[in-house]
Symmetry: C2
Subunit: 290 residues, 2 copies
Amino acid sequence: MTALFERLLIAGVGLVGGSLAHAVREAGLAGEVVGFGRSEPNLAVARERGLVDRTSRDPAEAAAGVDAVVIATPVGTAVGVAEALRPHVRPGTILTDVGSVKTALVAALEACWAPVGPVVGGHPIAGSETSGAAAARVDLFRGRRCILTPTPATDRAALGRVRALWEGVGARVEEMTPAVHDELLARVSHLPHLVAYALVDAVAGARVDGHDLLAYAGSGFRDTTRIAGSPAGLWRDVALANAPAVRAALGEFRAALERLESLLAAGDGDGLEAVLAAARAARRRLGRGE
Amino acid sequence: MTALFERLLIAGVGLVGGSLAHAVREAGLAGEVVGFGRSEPNLAVARERGLVDRTSRDPAEAAAGVDAVVIATPVGTAVGVAEALRPHVRPGTILTDVGSVKTALVAALEACWAPVGPVVGGHPIAGSETSGAAAARVDLFRGRRCILTPTPATDRAALGRVRALWEGVGARVEEMTPAVHDELLARVSHLPHLVAYALVDAVAGARVDGHDLLAYAGSGFRDTTRIAGSPAGLWRDVALANAPAVRAALGEFRAALERLESLLAAGDGDGLEAVLAAARAARRRLGRGE
């Protein structure tokens, strides 16, 4: 089998980048997988775990001879990384990414990369509150969705190769516009993160008779707030980059919460149970999953 | 070793009642453990799993010769169950419960049980969105907190025996007033449940370009909403029975959420990161736990 890419550069060898690198190596999708990053200790972990063939902290060295670049750094630093690599890649090099927001990011990457080659926006829906090369898992994308977000500017051949990359690591690839992606993820991902952070914030800040409230948290509170353990800078950037859709999603959530509050204030047991039962039914259709 | 109780009646052999029954039997804390309930299929599961010595659906038969009763039915039915058993117990029989709300419930149980014997309010902080005797686990309370909520009316000897019961199944027992318990649990338990239900409600009801949003839910959304799979009637009753504290907790949460929204609307990245980072730090002190 011919590899999909001769030499693939993965910029940001964290949970997502490291898992992709490892899965690409295992599936033989690239002749060589190079890891680029700032933190030598993290790159050392990536090498020791065999996630990549080699690593570099130098943009010129990292980018030499690659035919595709995957930006897997946090959303807020993606464009800066692309700019640092751009002078060192050969013409036609494909740029793709894994960012959780797409409209603003894909537009910025297209503007940055226009002199060089094609851009394909991507977002694998997989992850956890863990981070770093140590958290990478070769099967992270297996059976998970990966959304690609072509624009009118997207090169169809490049889109096909990026699709083959994700399908090659076991993901179910789907295409939609950056705007639809962002509206969708605002609700199923960005909103739950902000809700989890707000819930911890509210409870950690409350005082009842001198008790440390968090000491009484059971498994329900722990599950509901697990993703509030995610890196703050990353979610700041996501929320800001997708602010209009996130604010709309927050508004929808606040309306749902106010509906519960009104029913509670009115002592409307039947109404309250109807809303809770409908939500329960929807949640149970979703299953426990992972 | 002399058993703590000659014959213990557990009314409601679900996750909590069934787990307590099983742990009591295993620890030899009662000469006999009787399970009382309405659903014969569930009682059959309790017998087959050896959670109890025997079961009955008849109040008179179930209550005969017992020296303590644990009400482990949902909060909304607890008083009705106590009333049904009352005519059939001997004088001095201890009544205790496991309800997630205490102020209104303990007062009602004290009023109901006054002609008979002492009442001790209790609440083991353990559970999950599962239910029924099939979900019972002998170690459910091991290492978990159990809050007892004595009132000025509480008999100290009865309080001591109920404390010994919970310590005997491995729980860490703590005492506080019913009012403090309710303020505390409103924040660490009742609030997260309503938030999870509201989150599912909002996302299940939203539409983006014809997509079924829940199909795109990742592990973050699943964790954050897991407890929205809990029985609706149970949480309706808890919310209504603890309405003042729950509404206060909802107000605190809404304030935290509005703080995030304001920072987002203002594009205040530093302010947003500071709030998220503080919440993250608080959440990480809590640990992953179970």
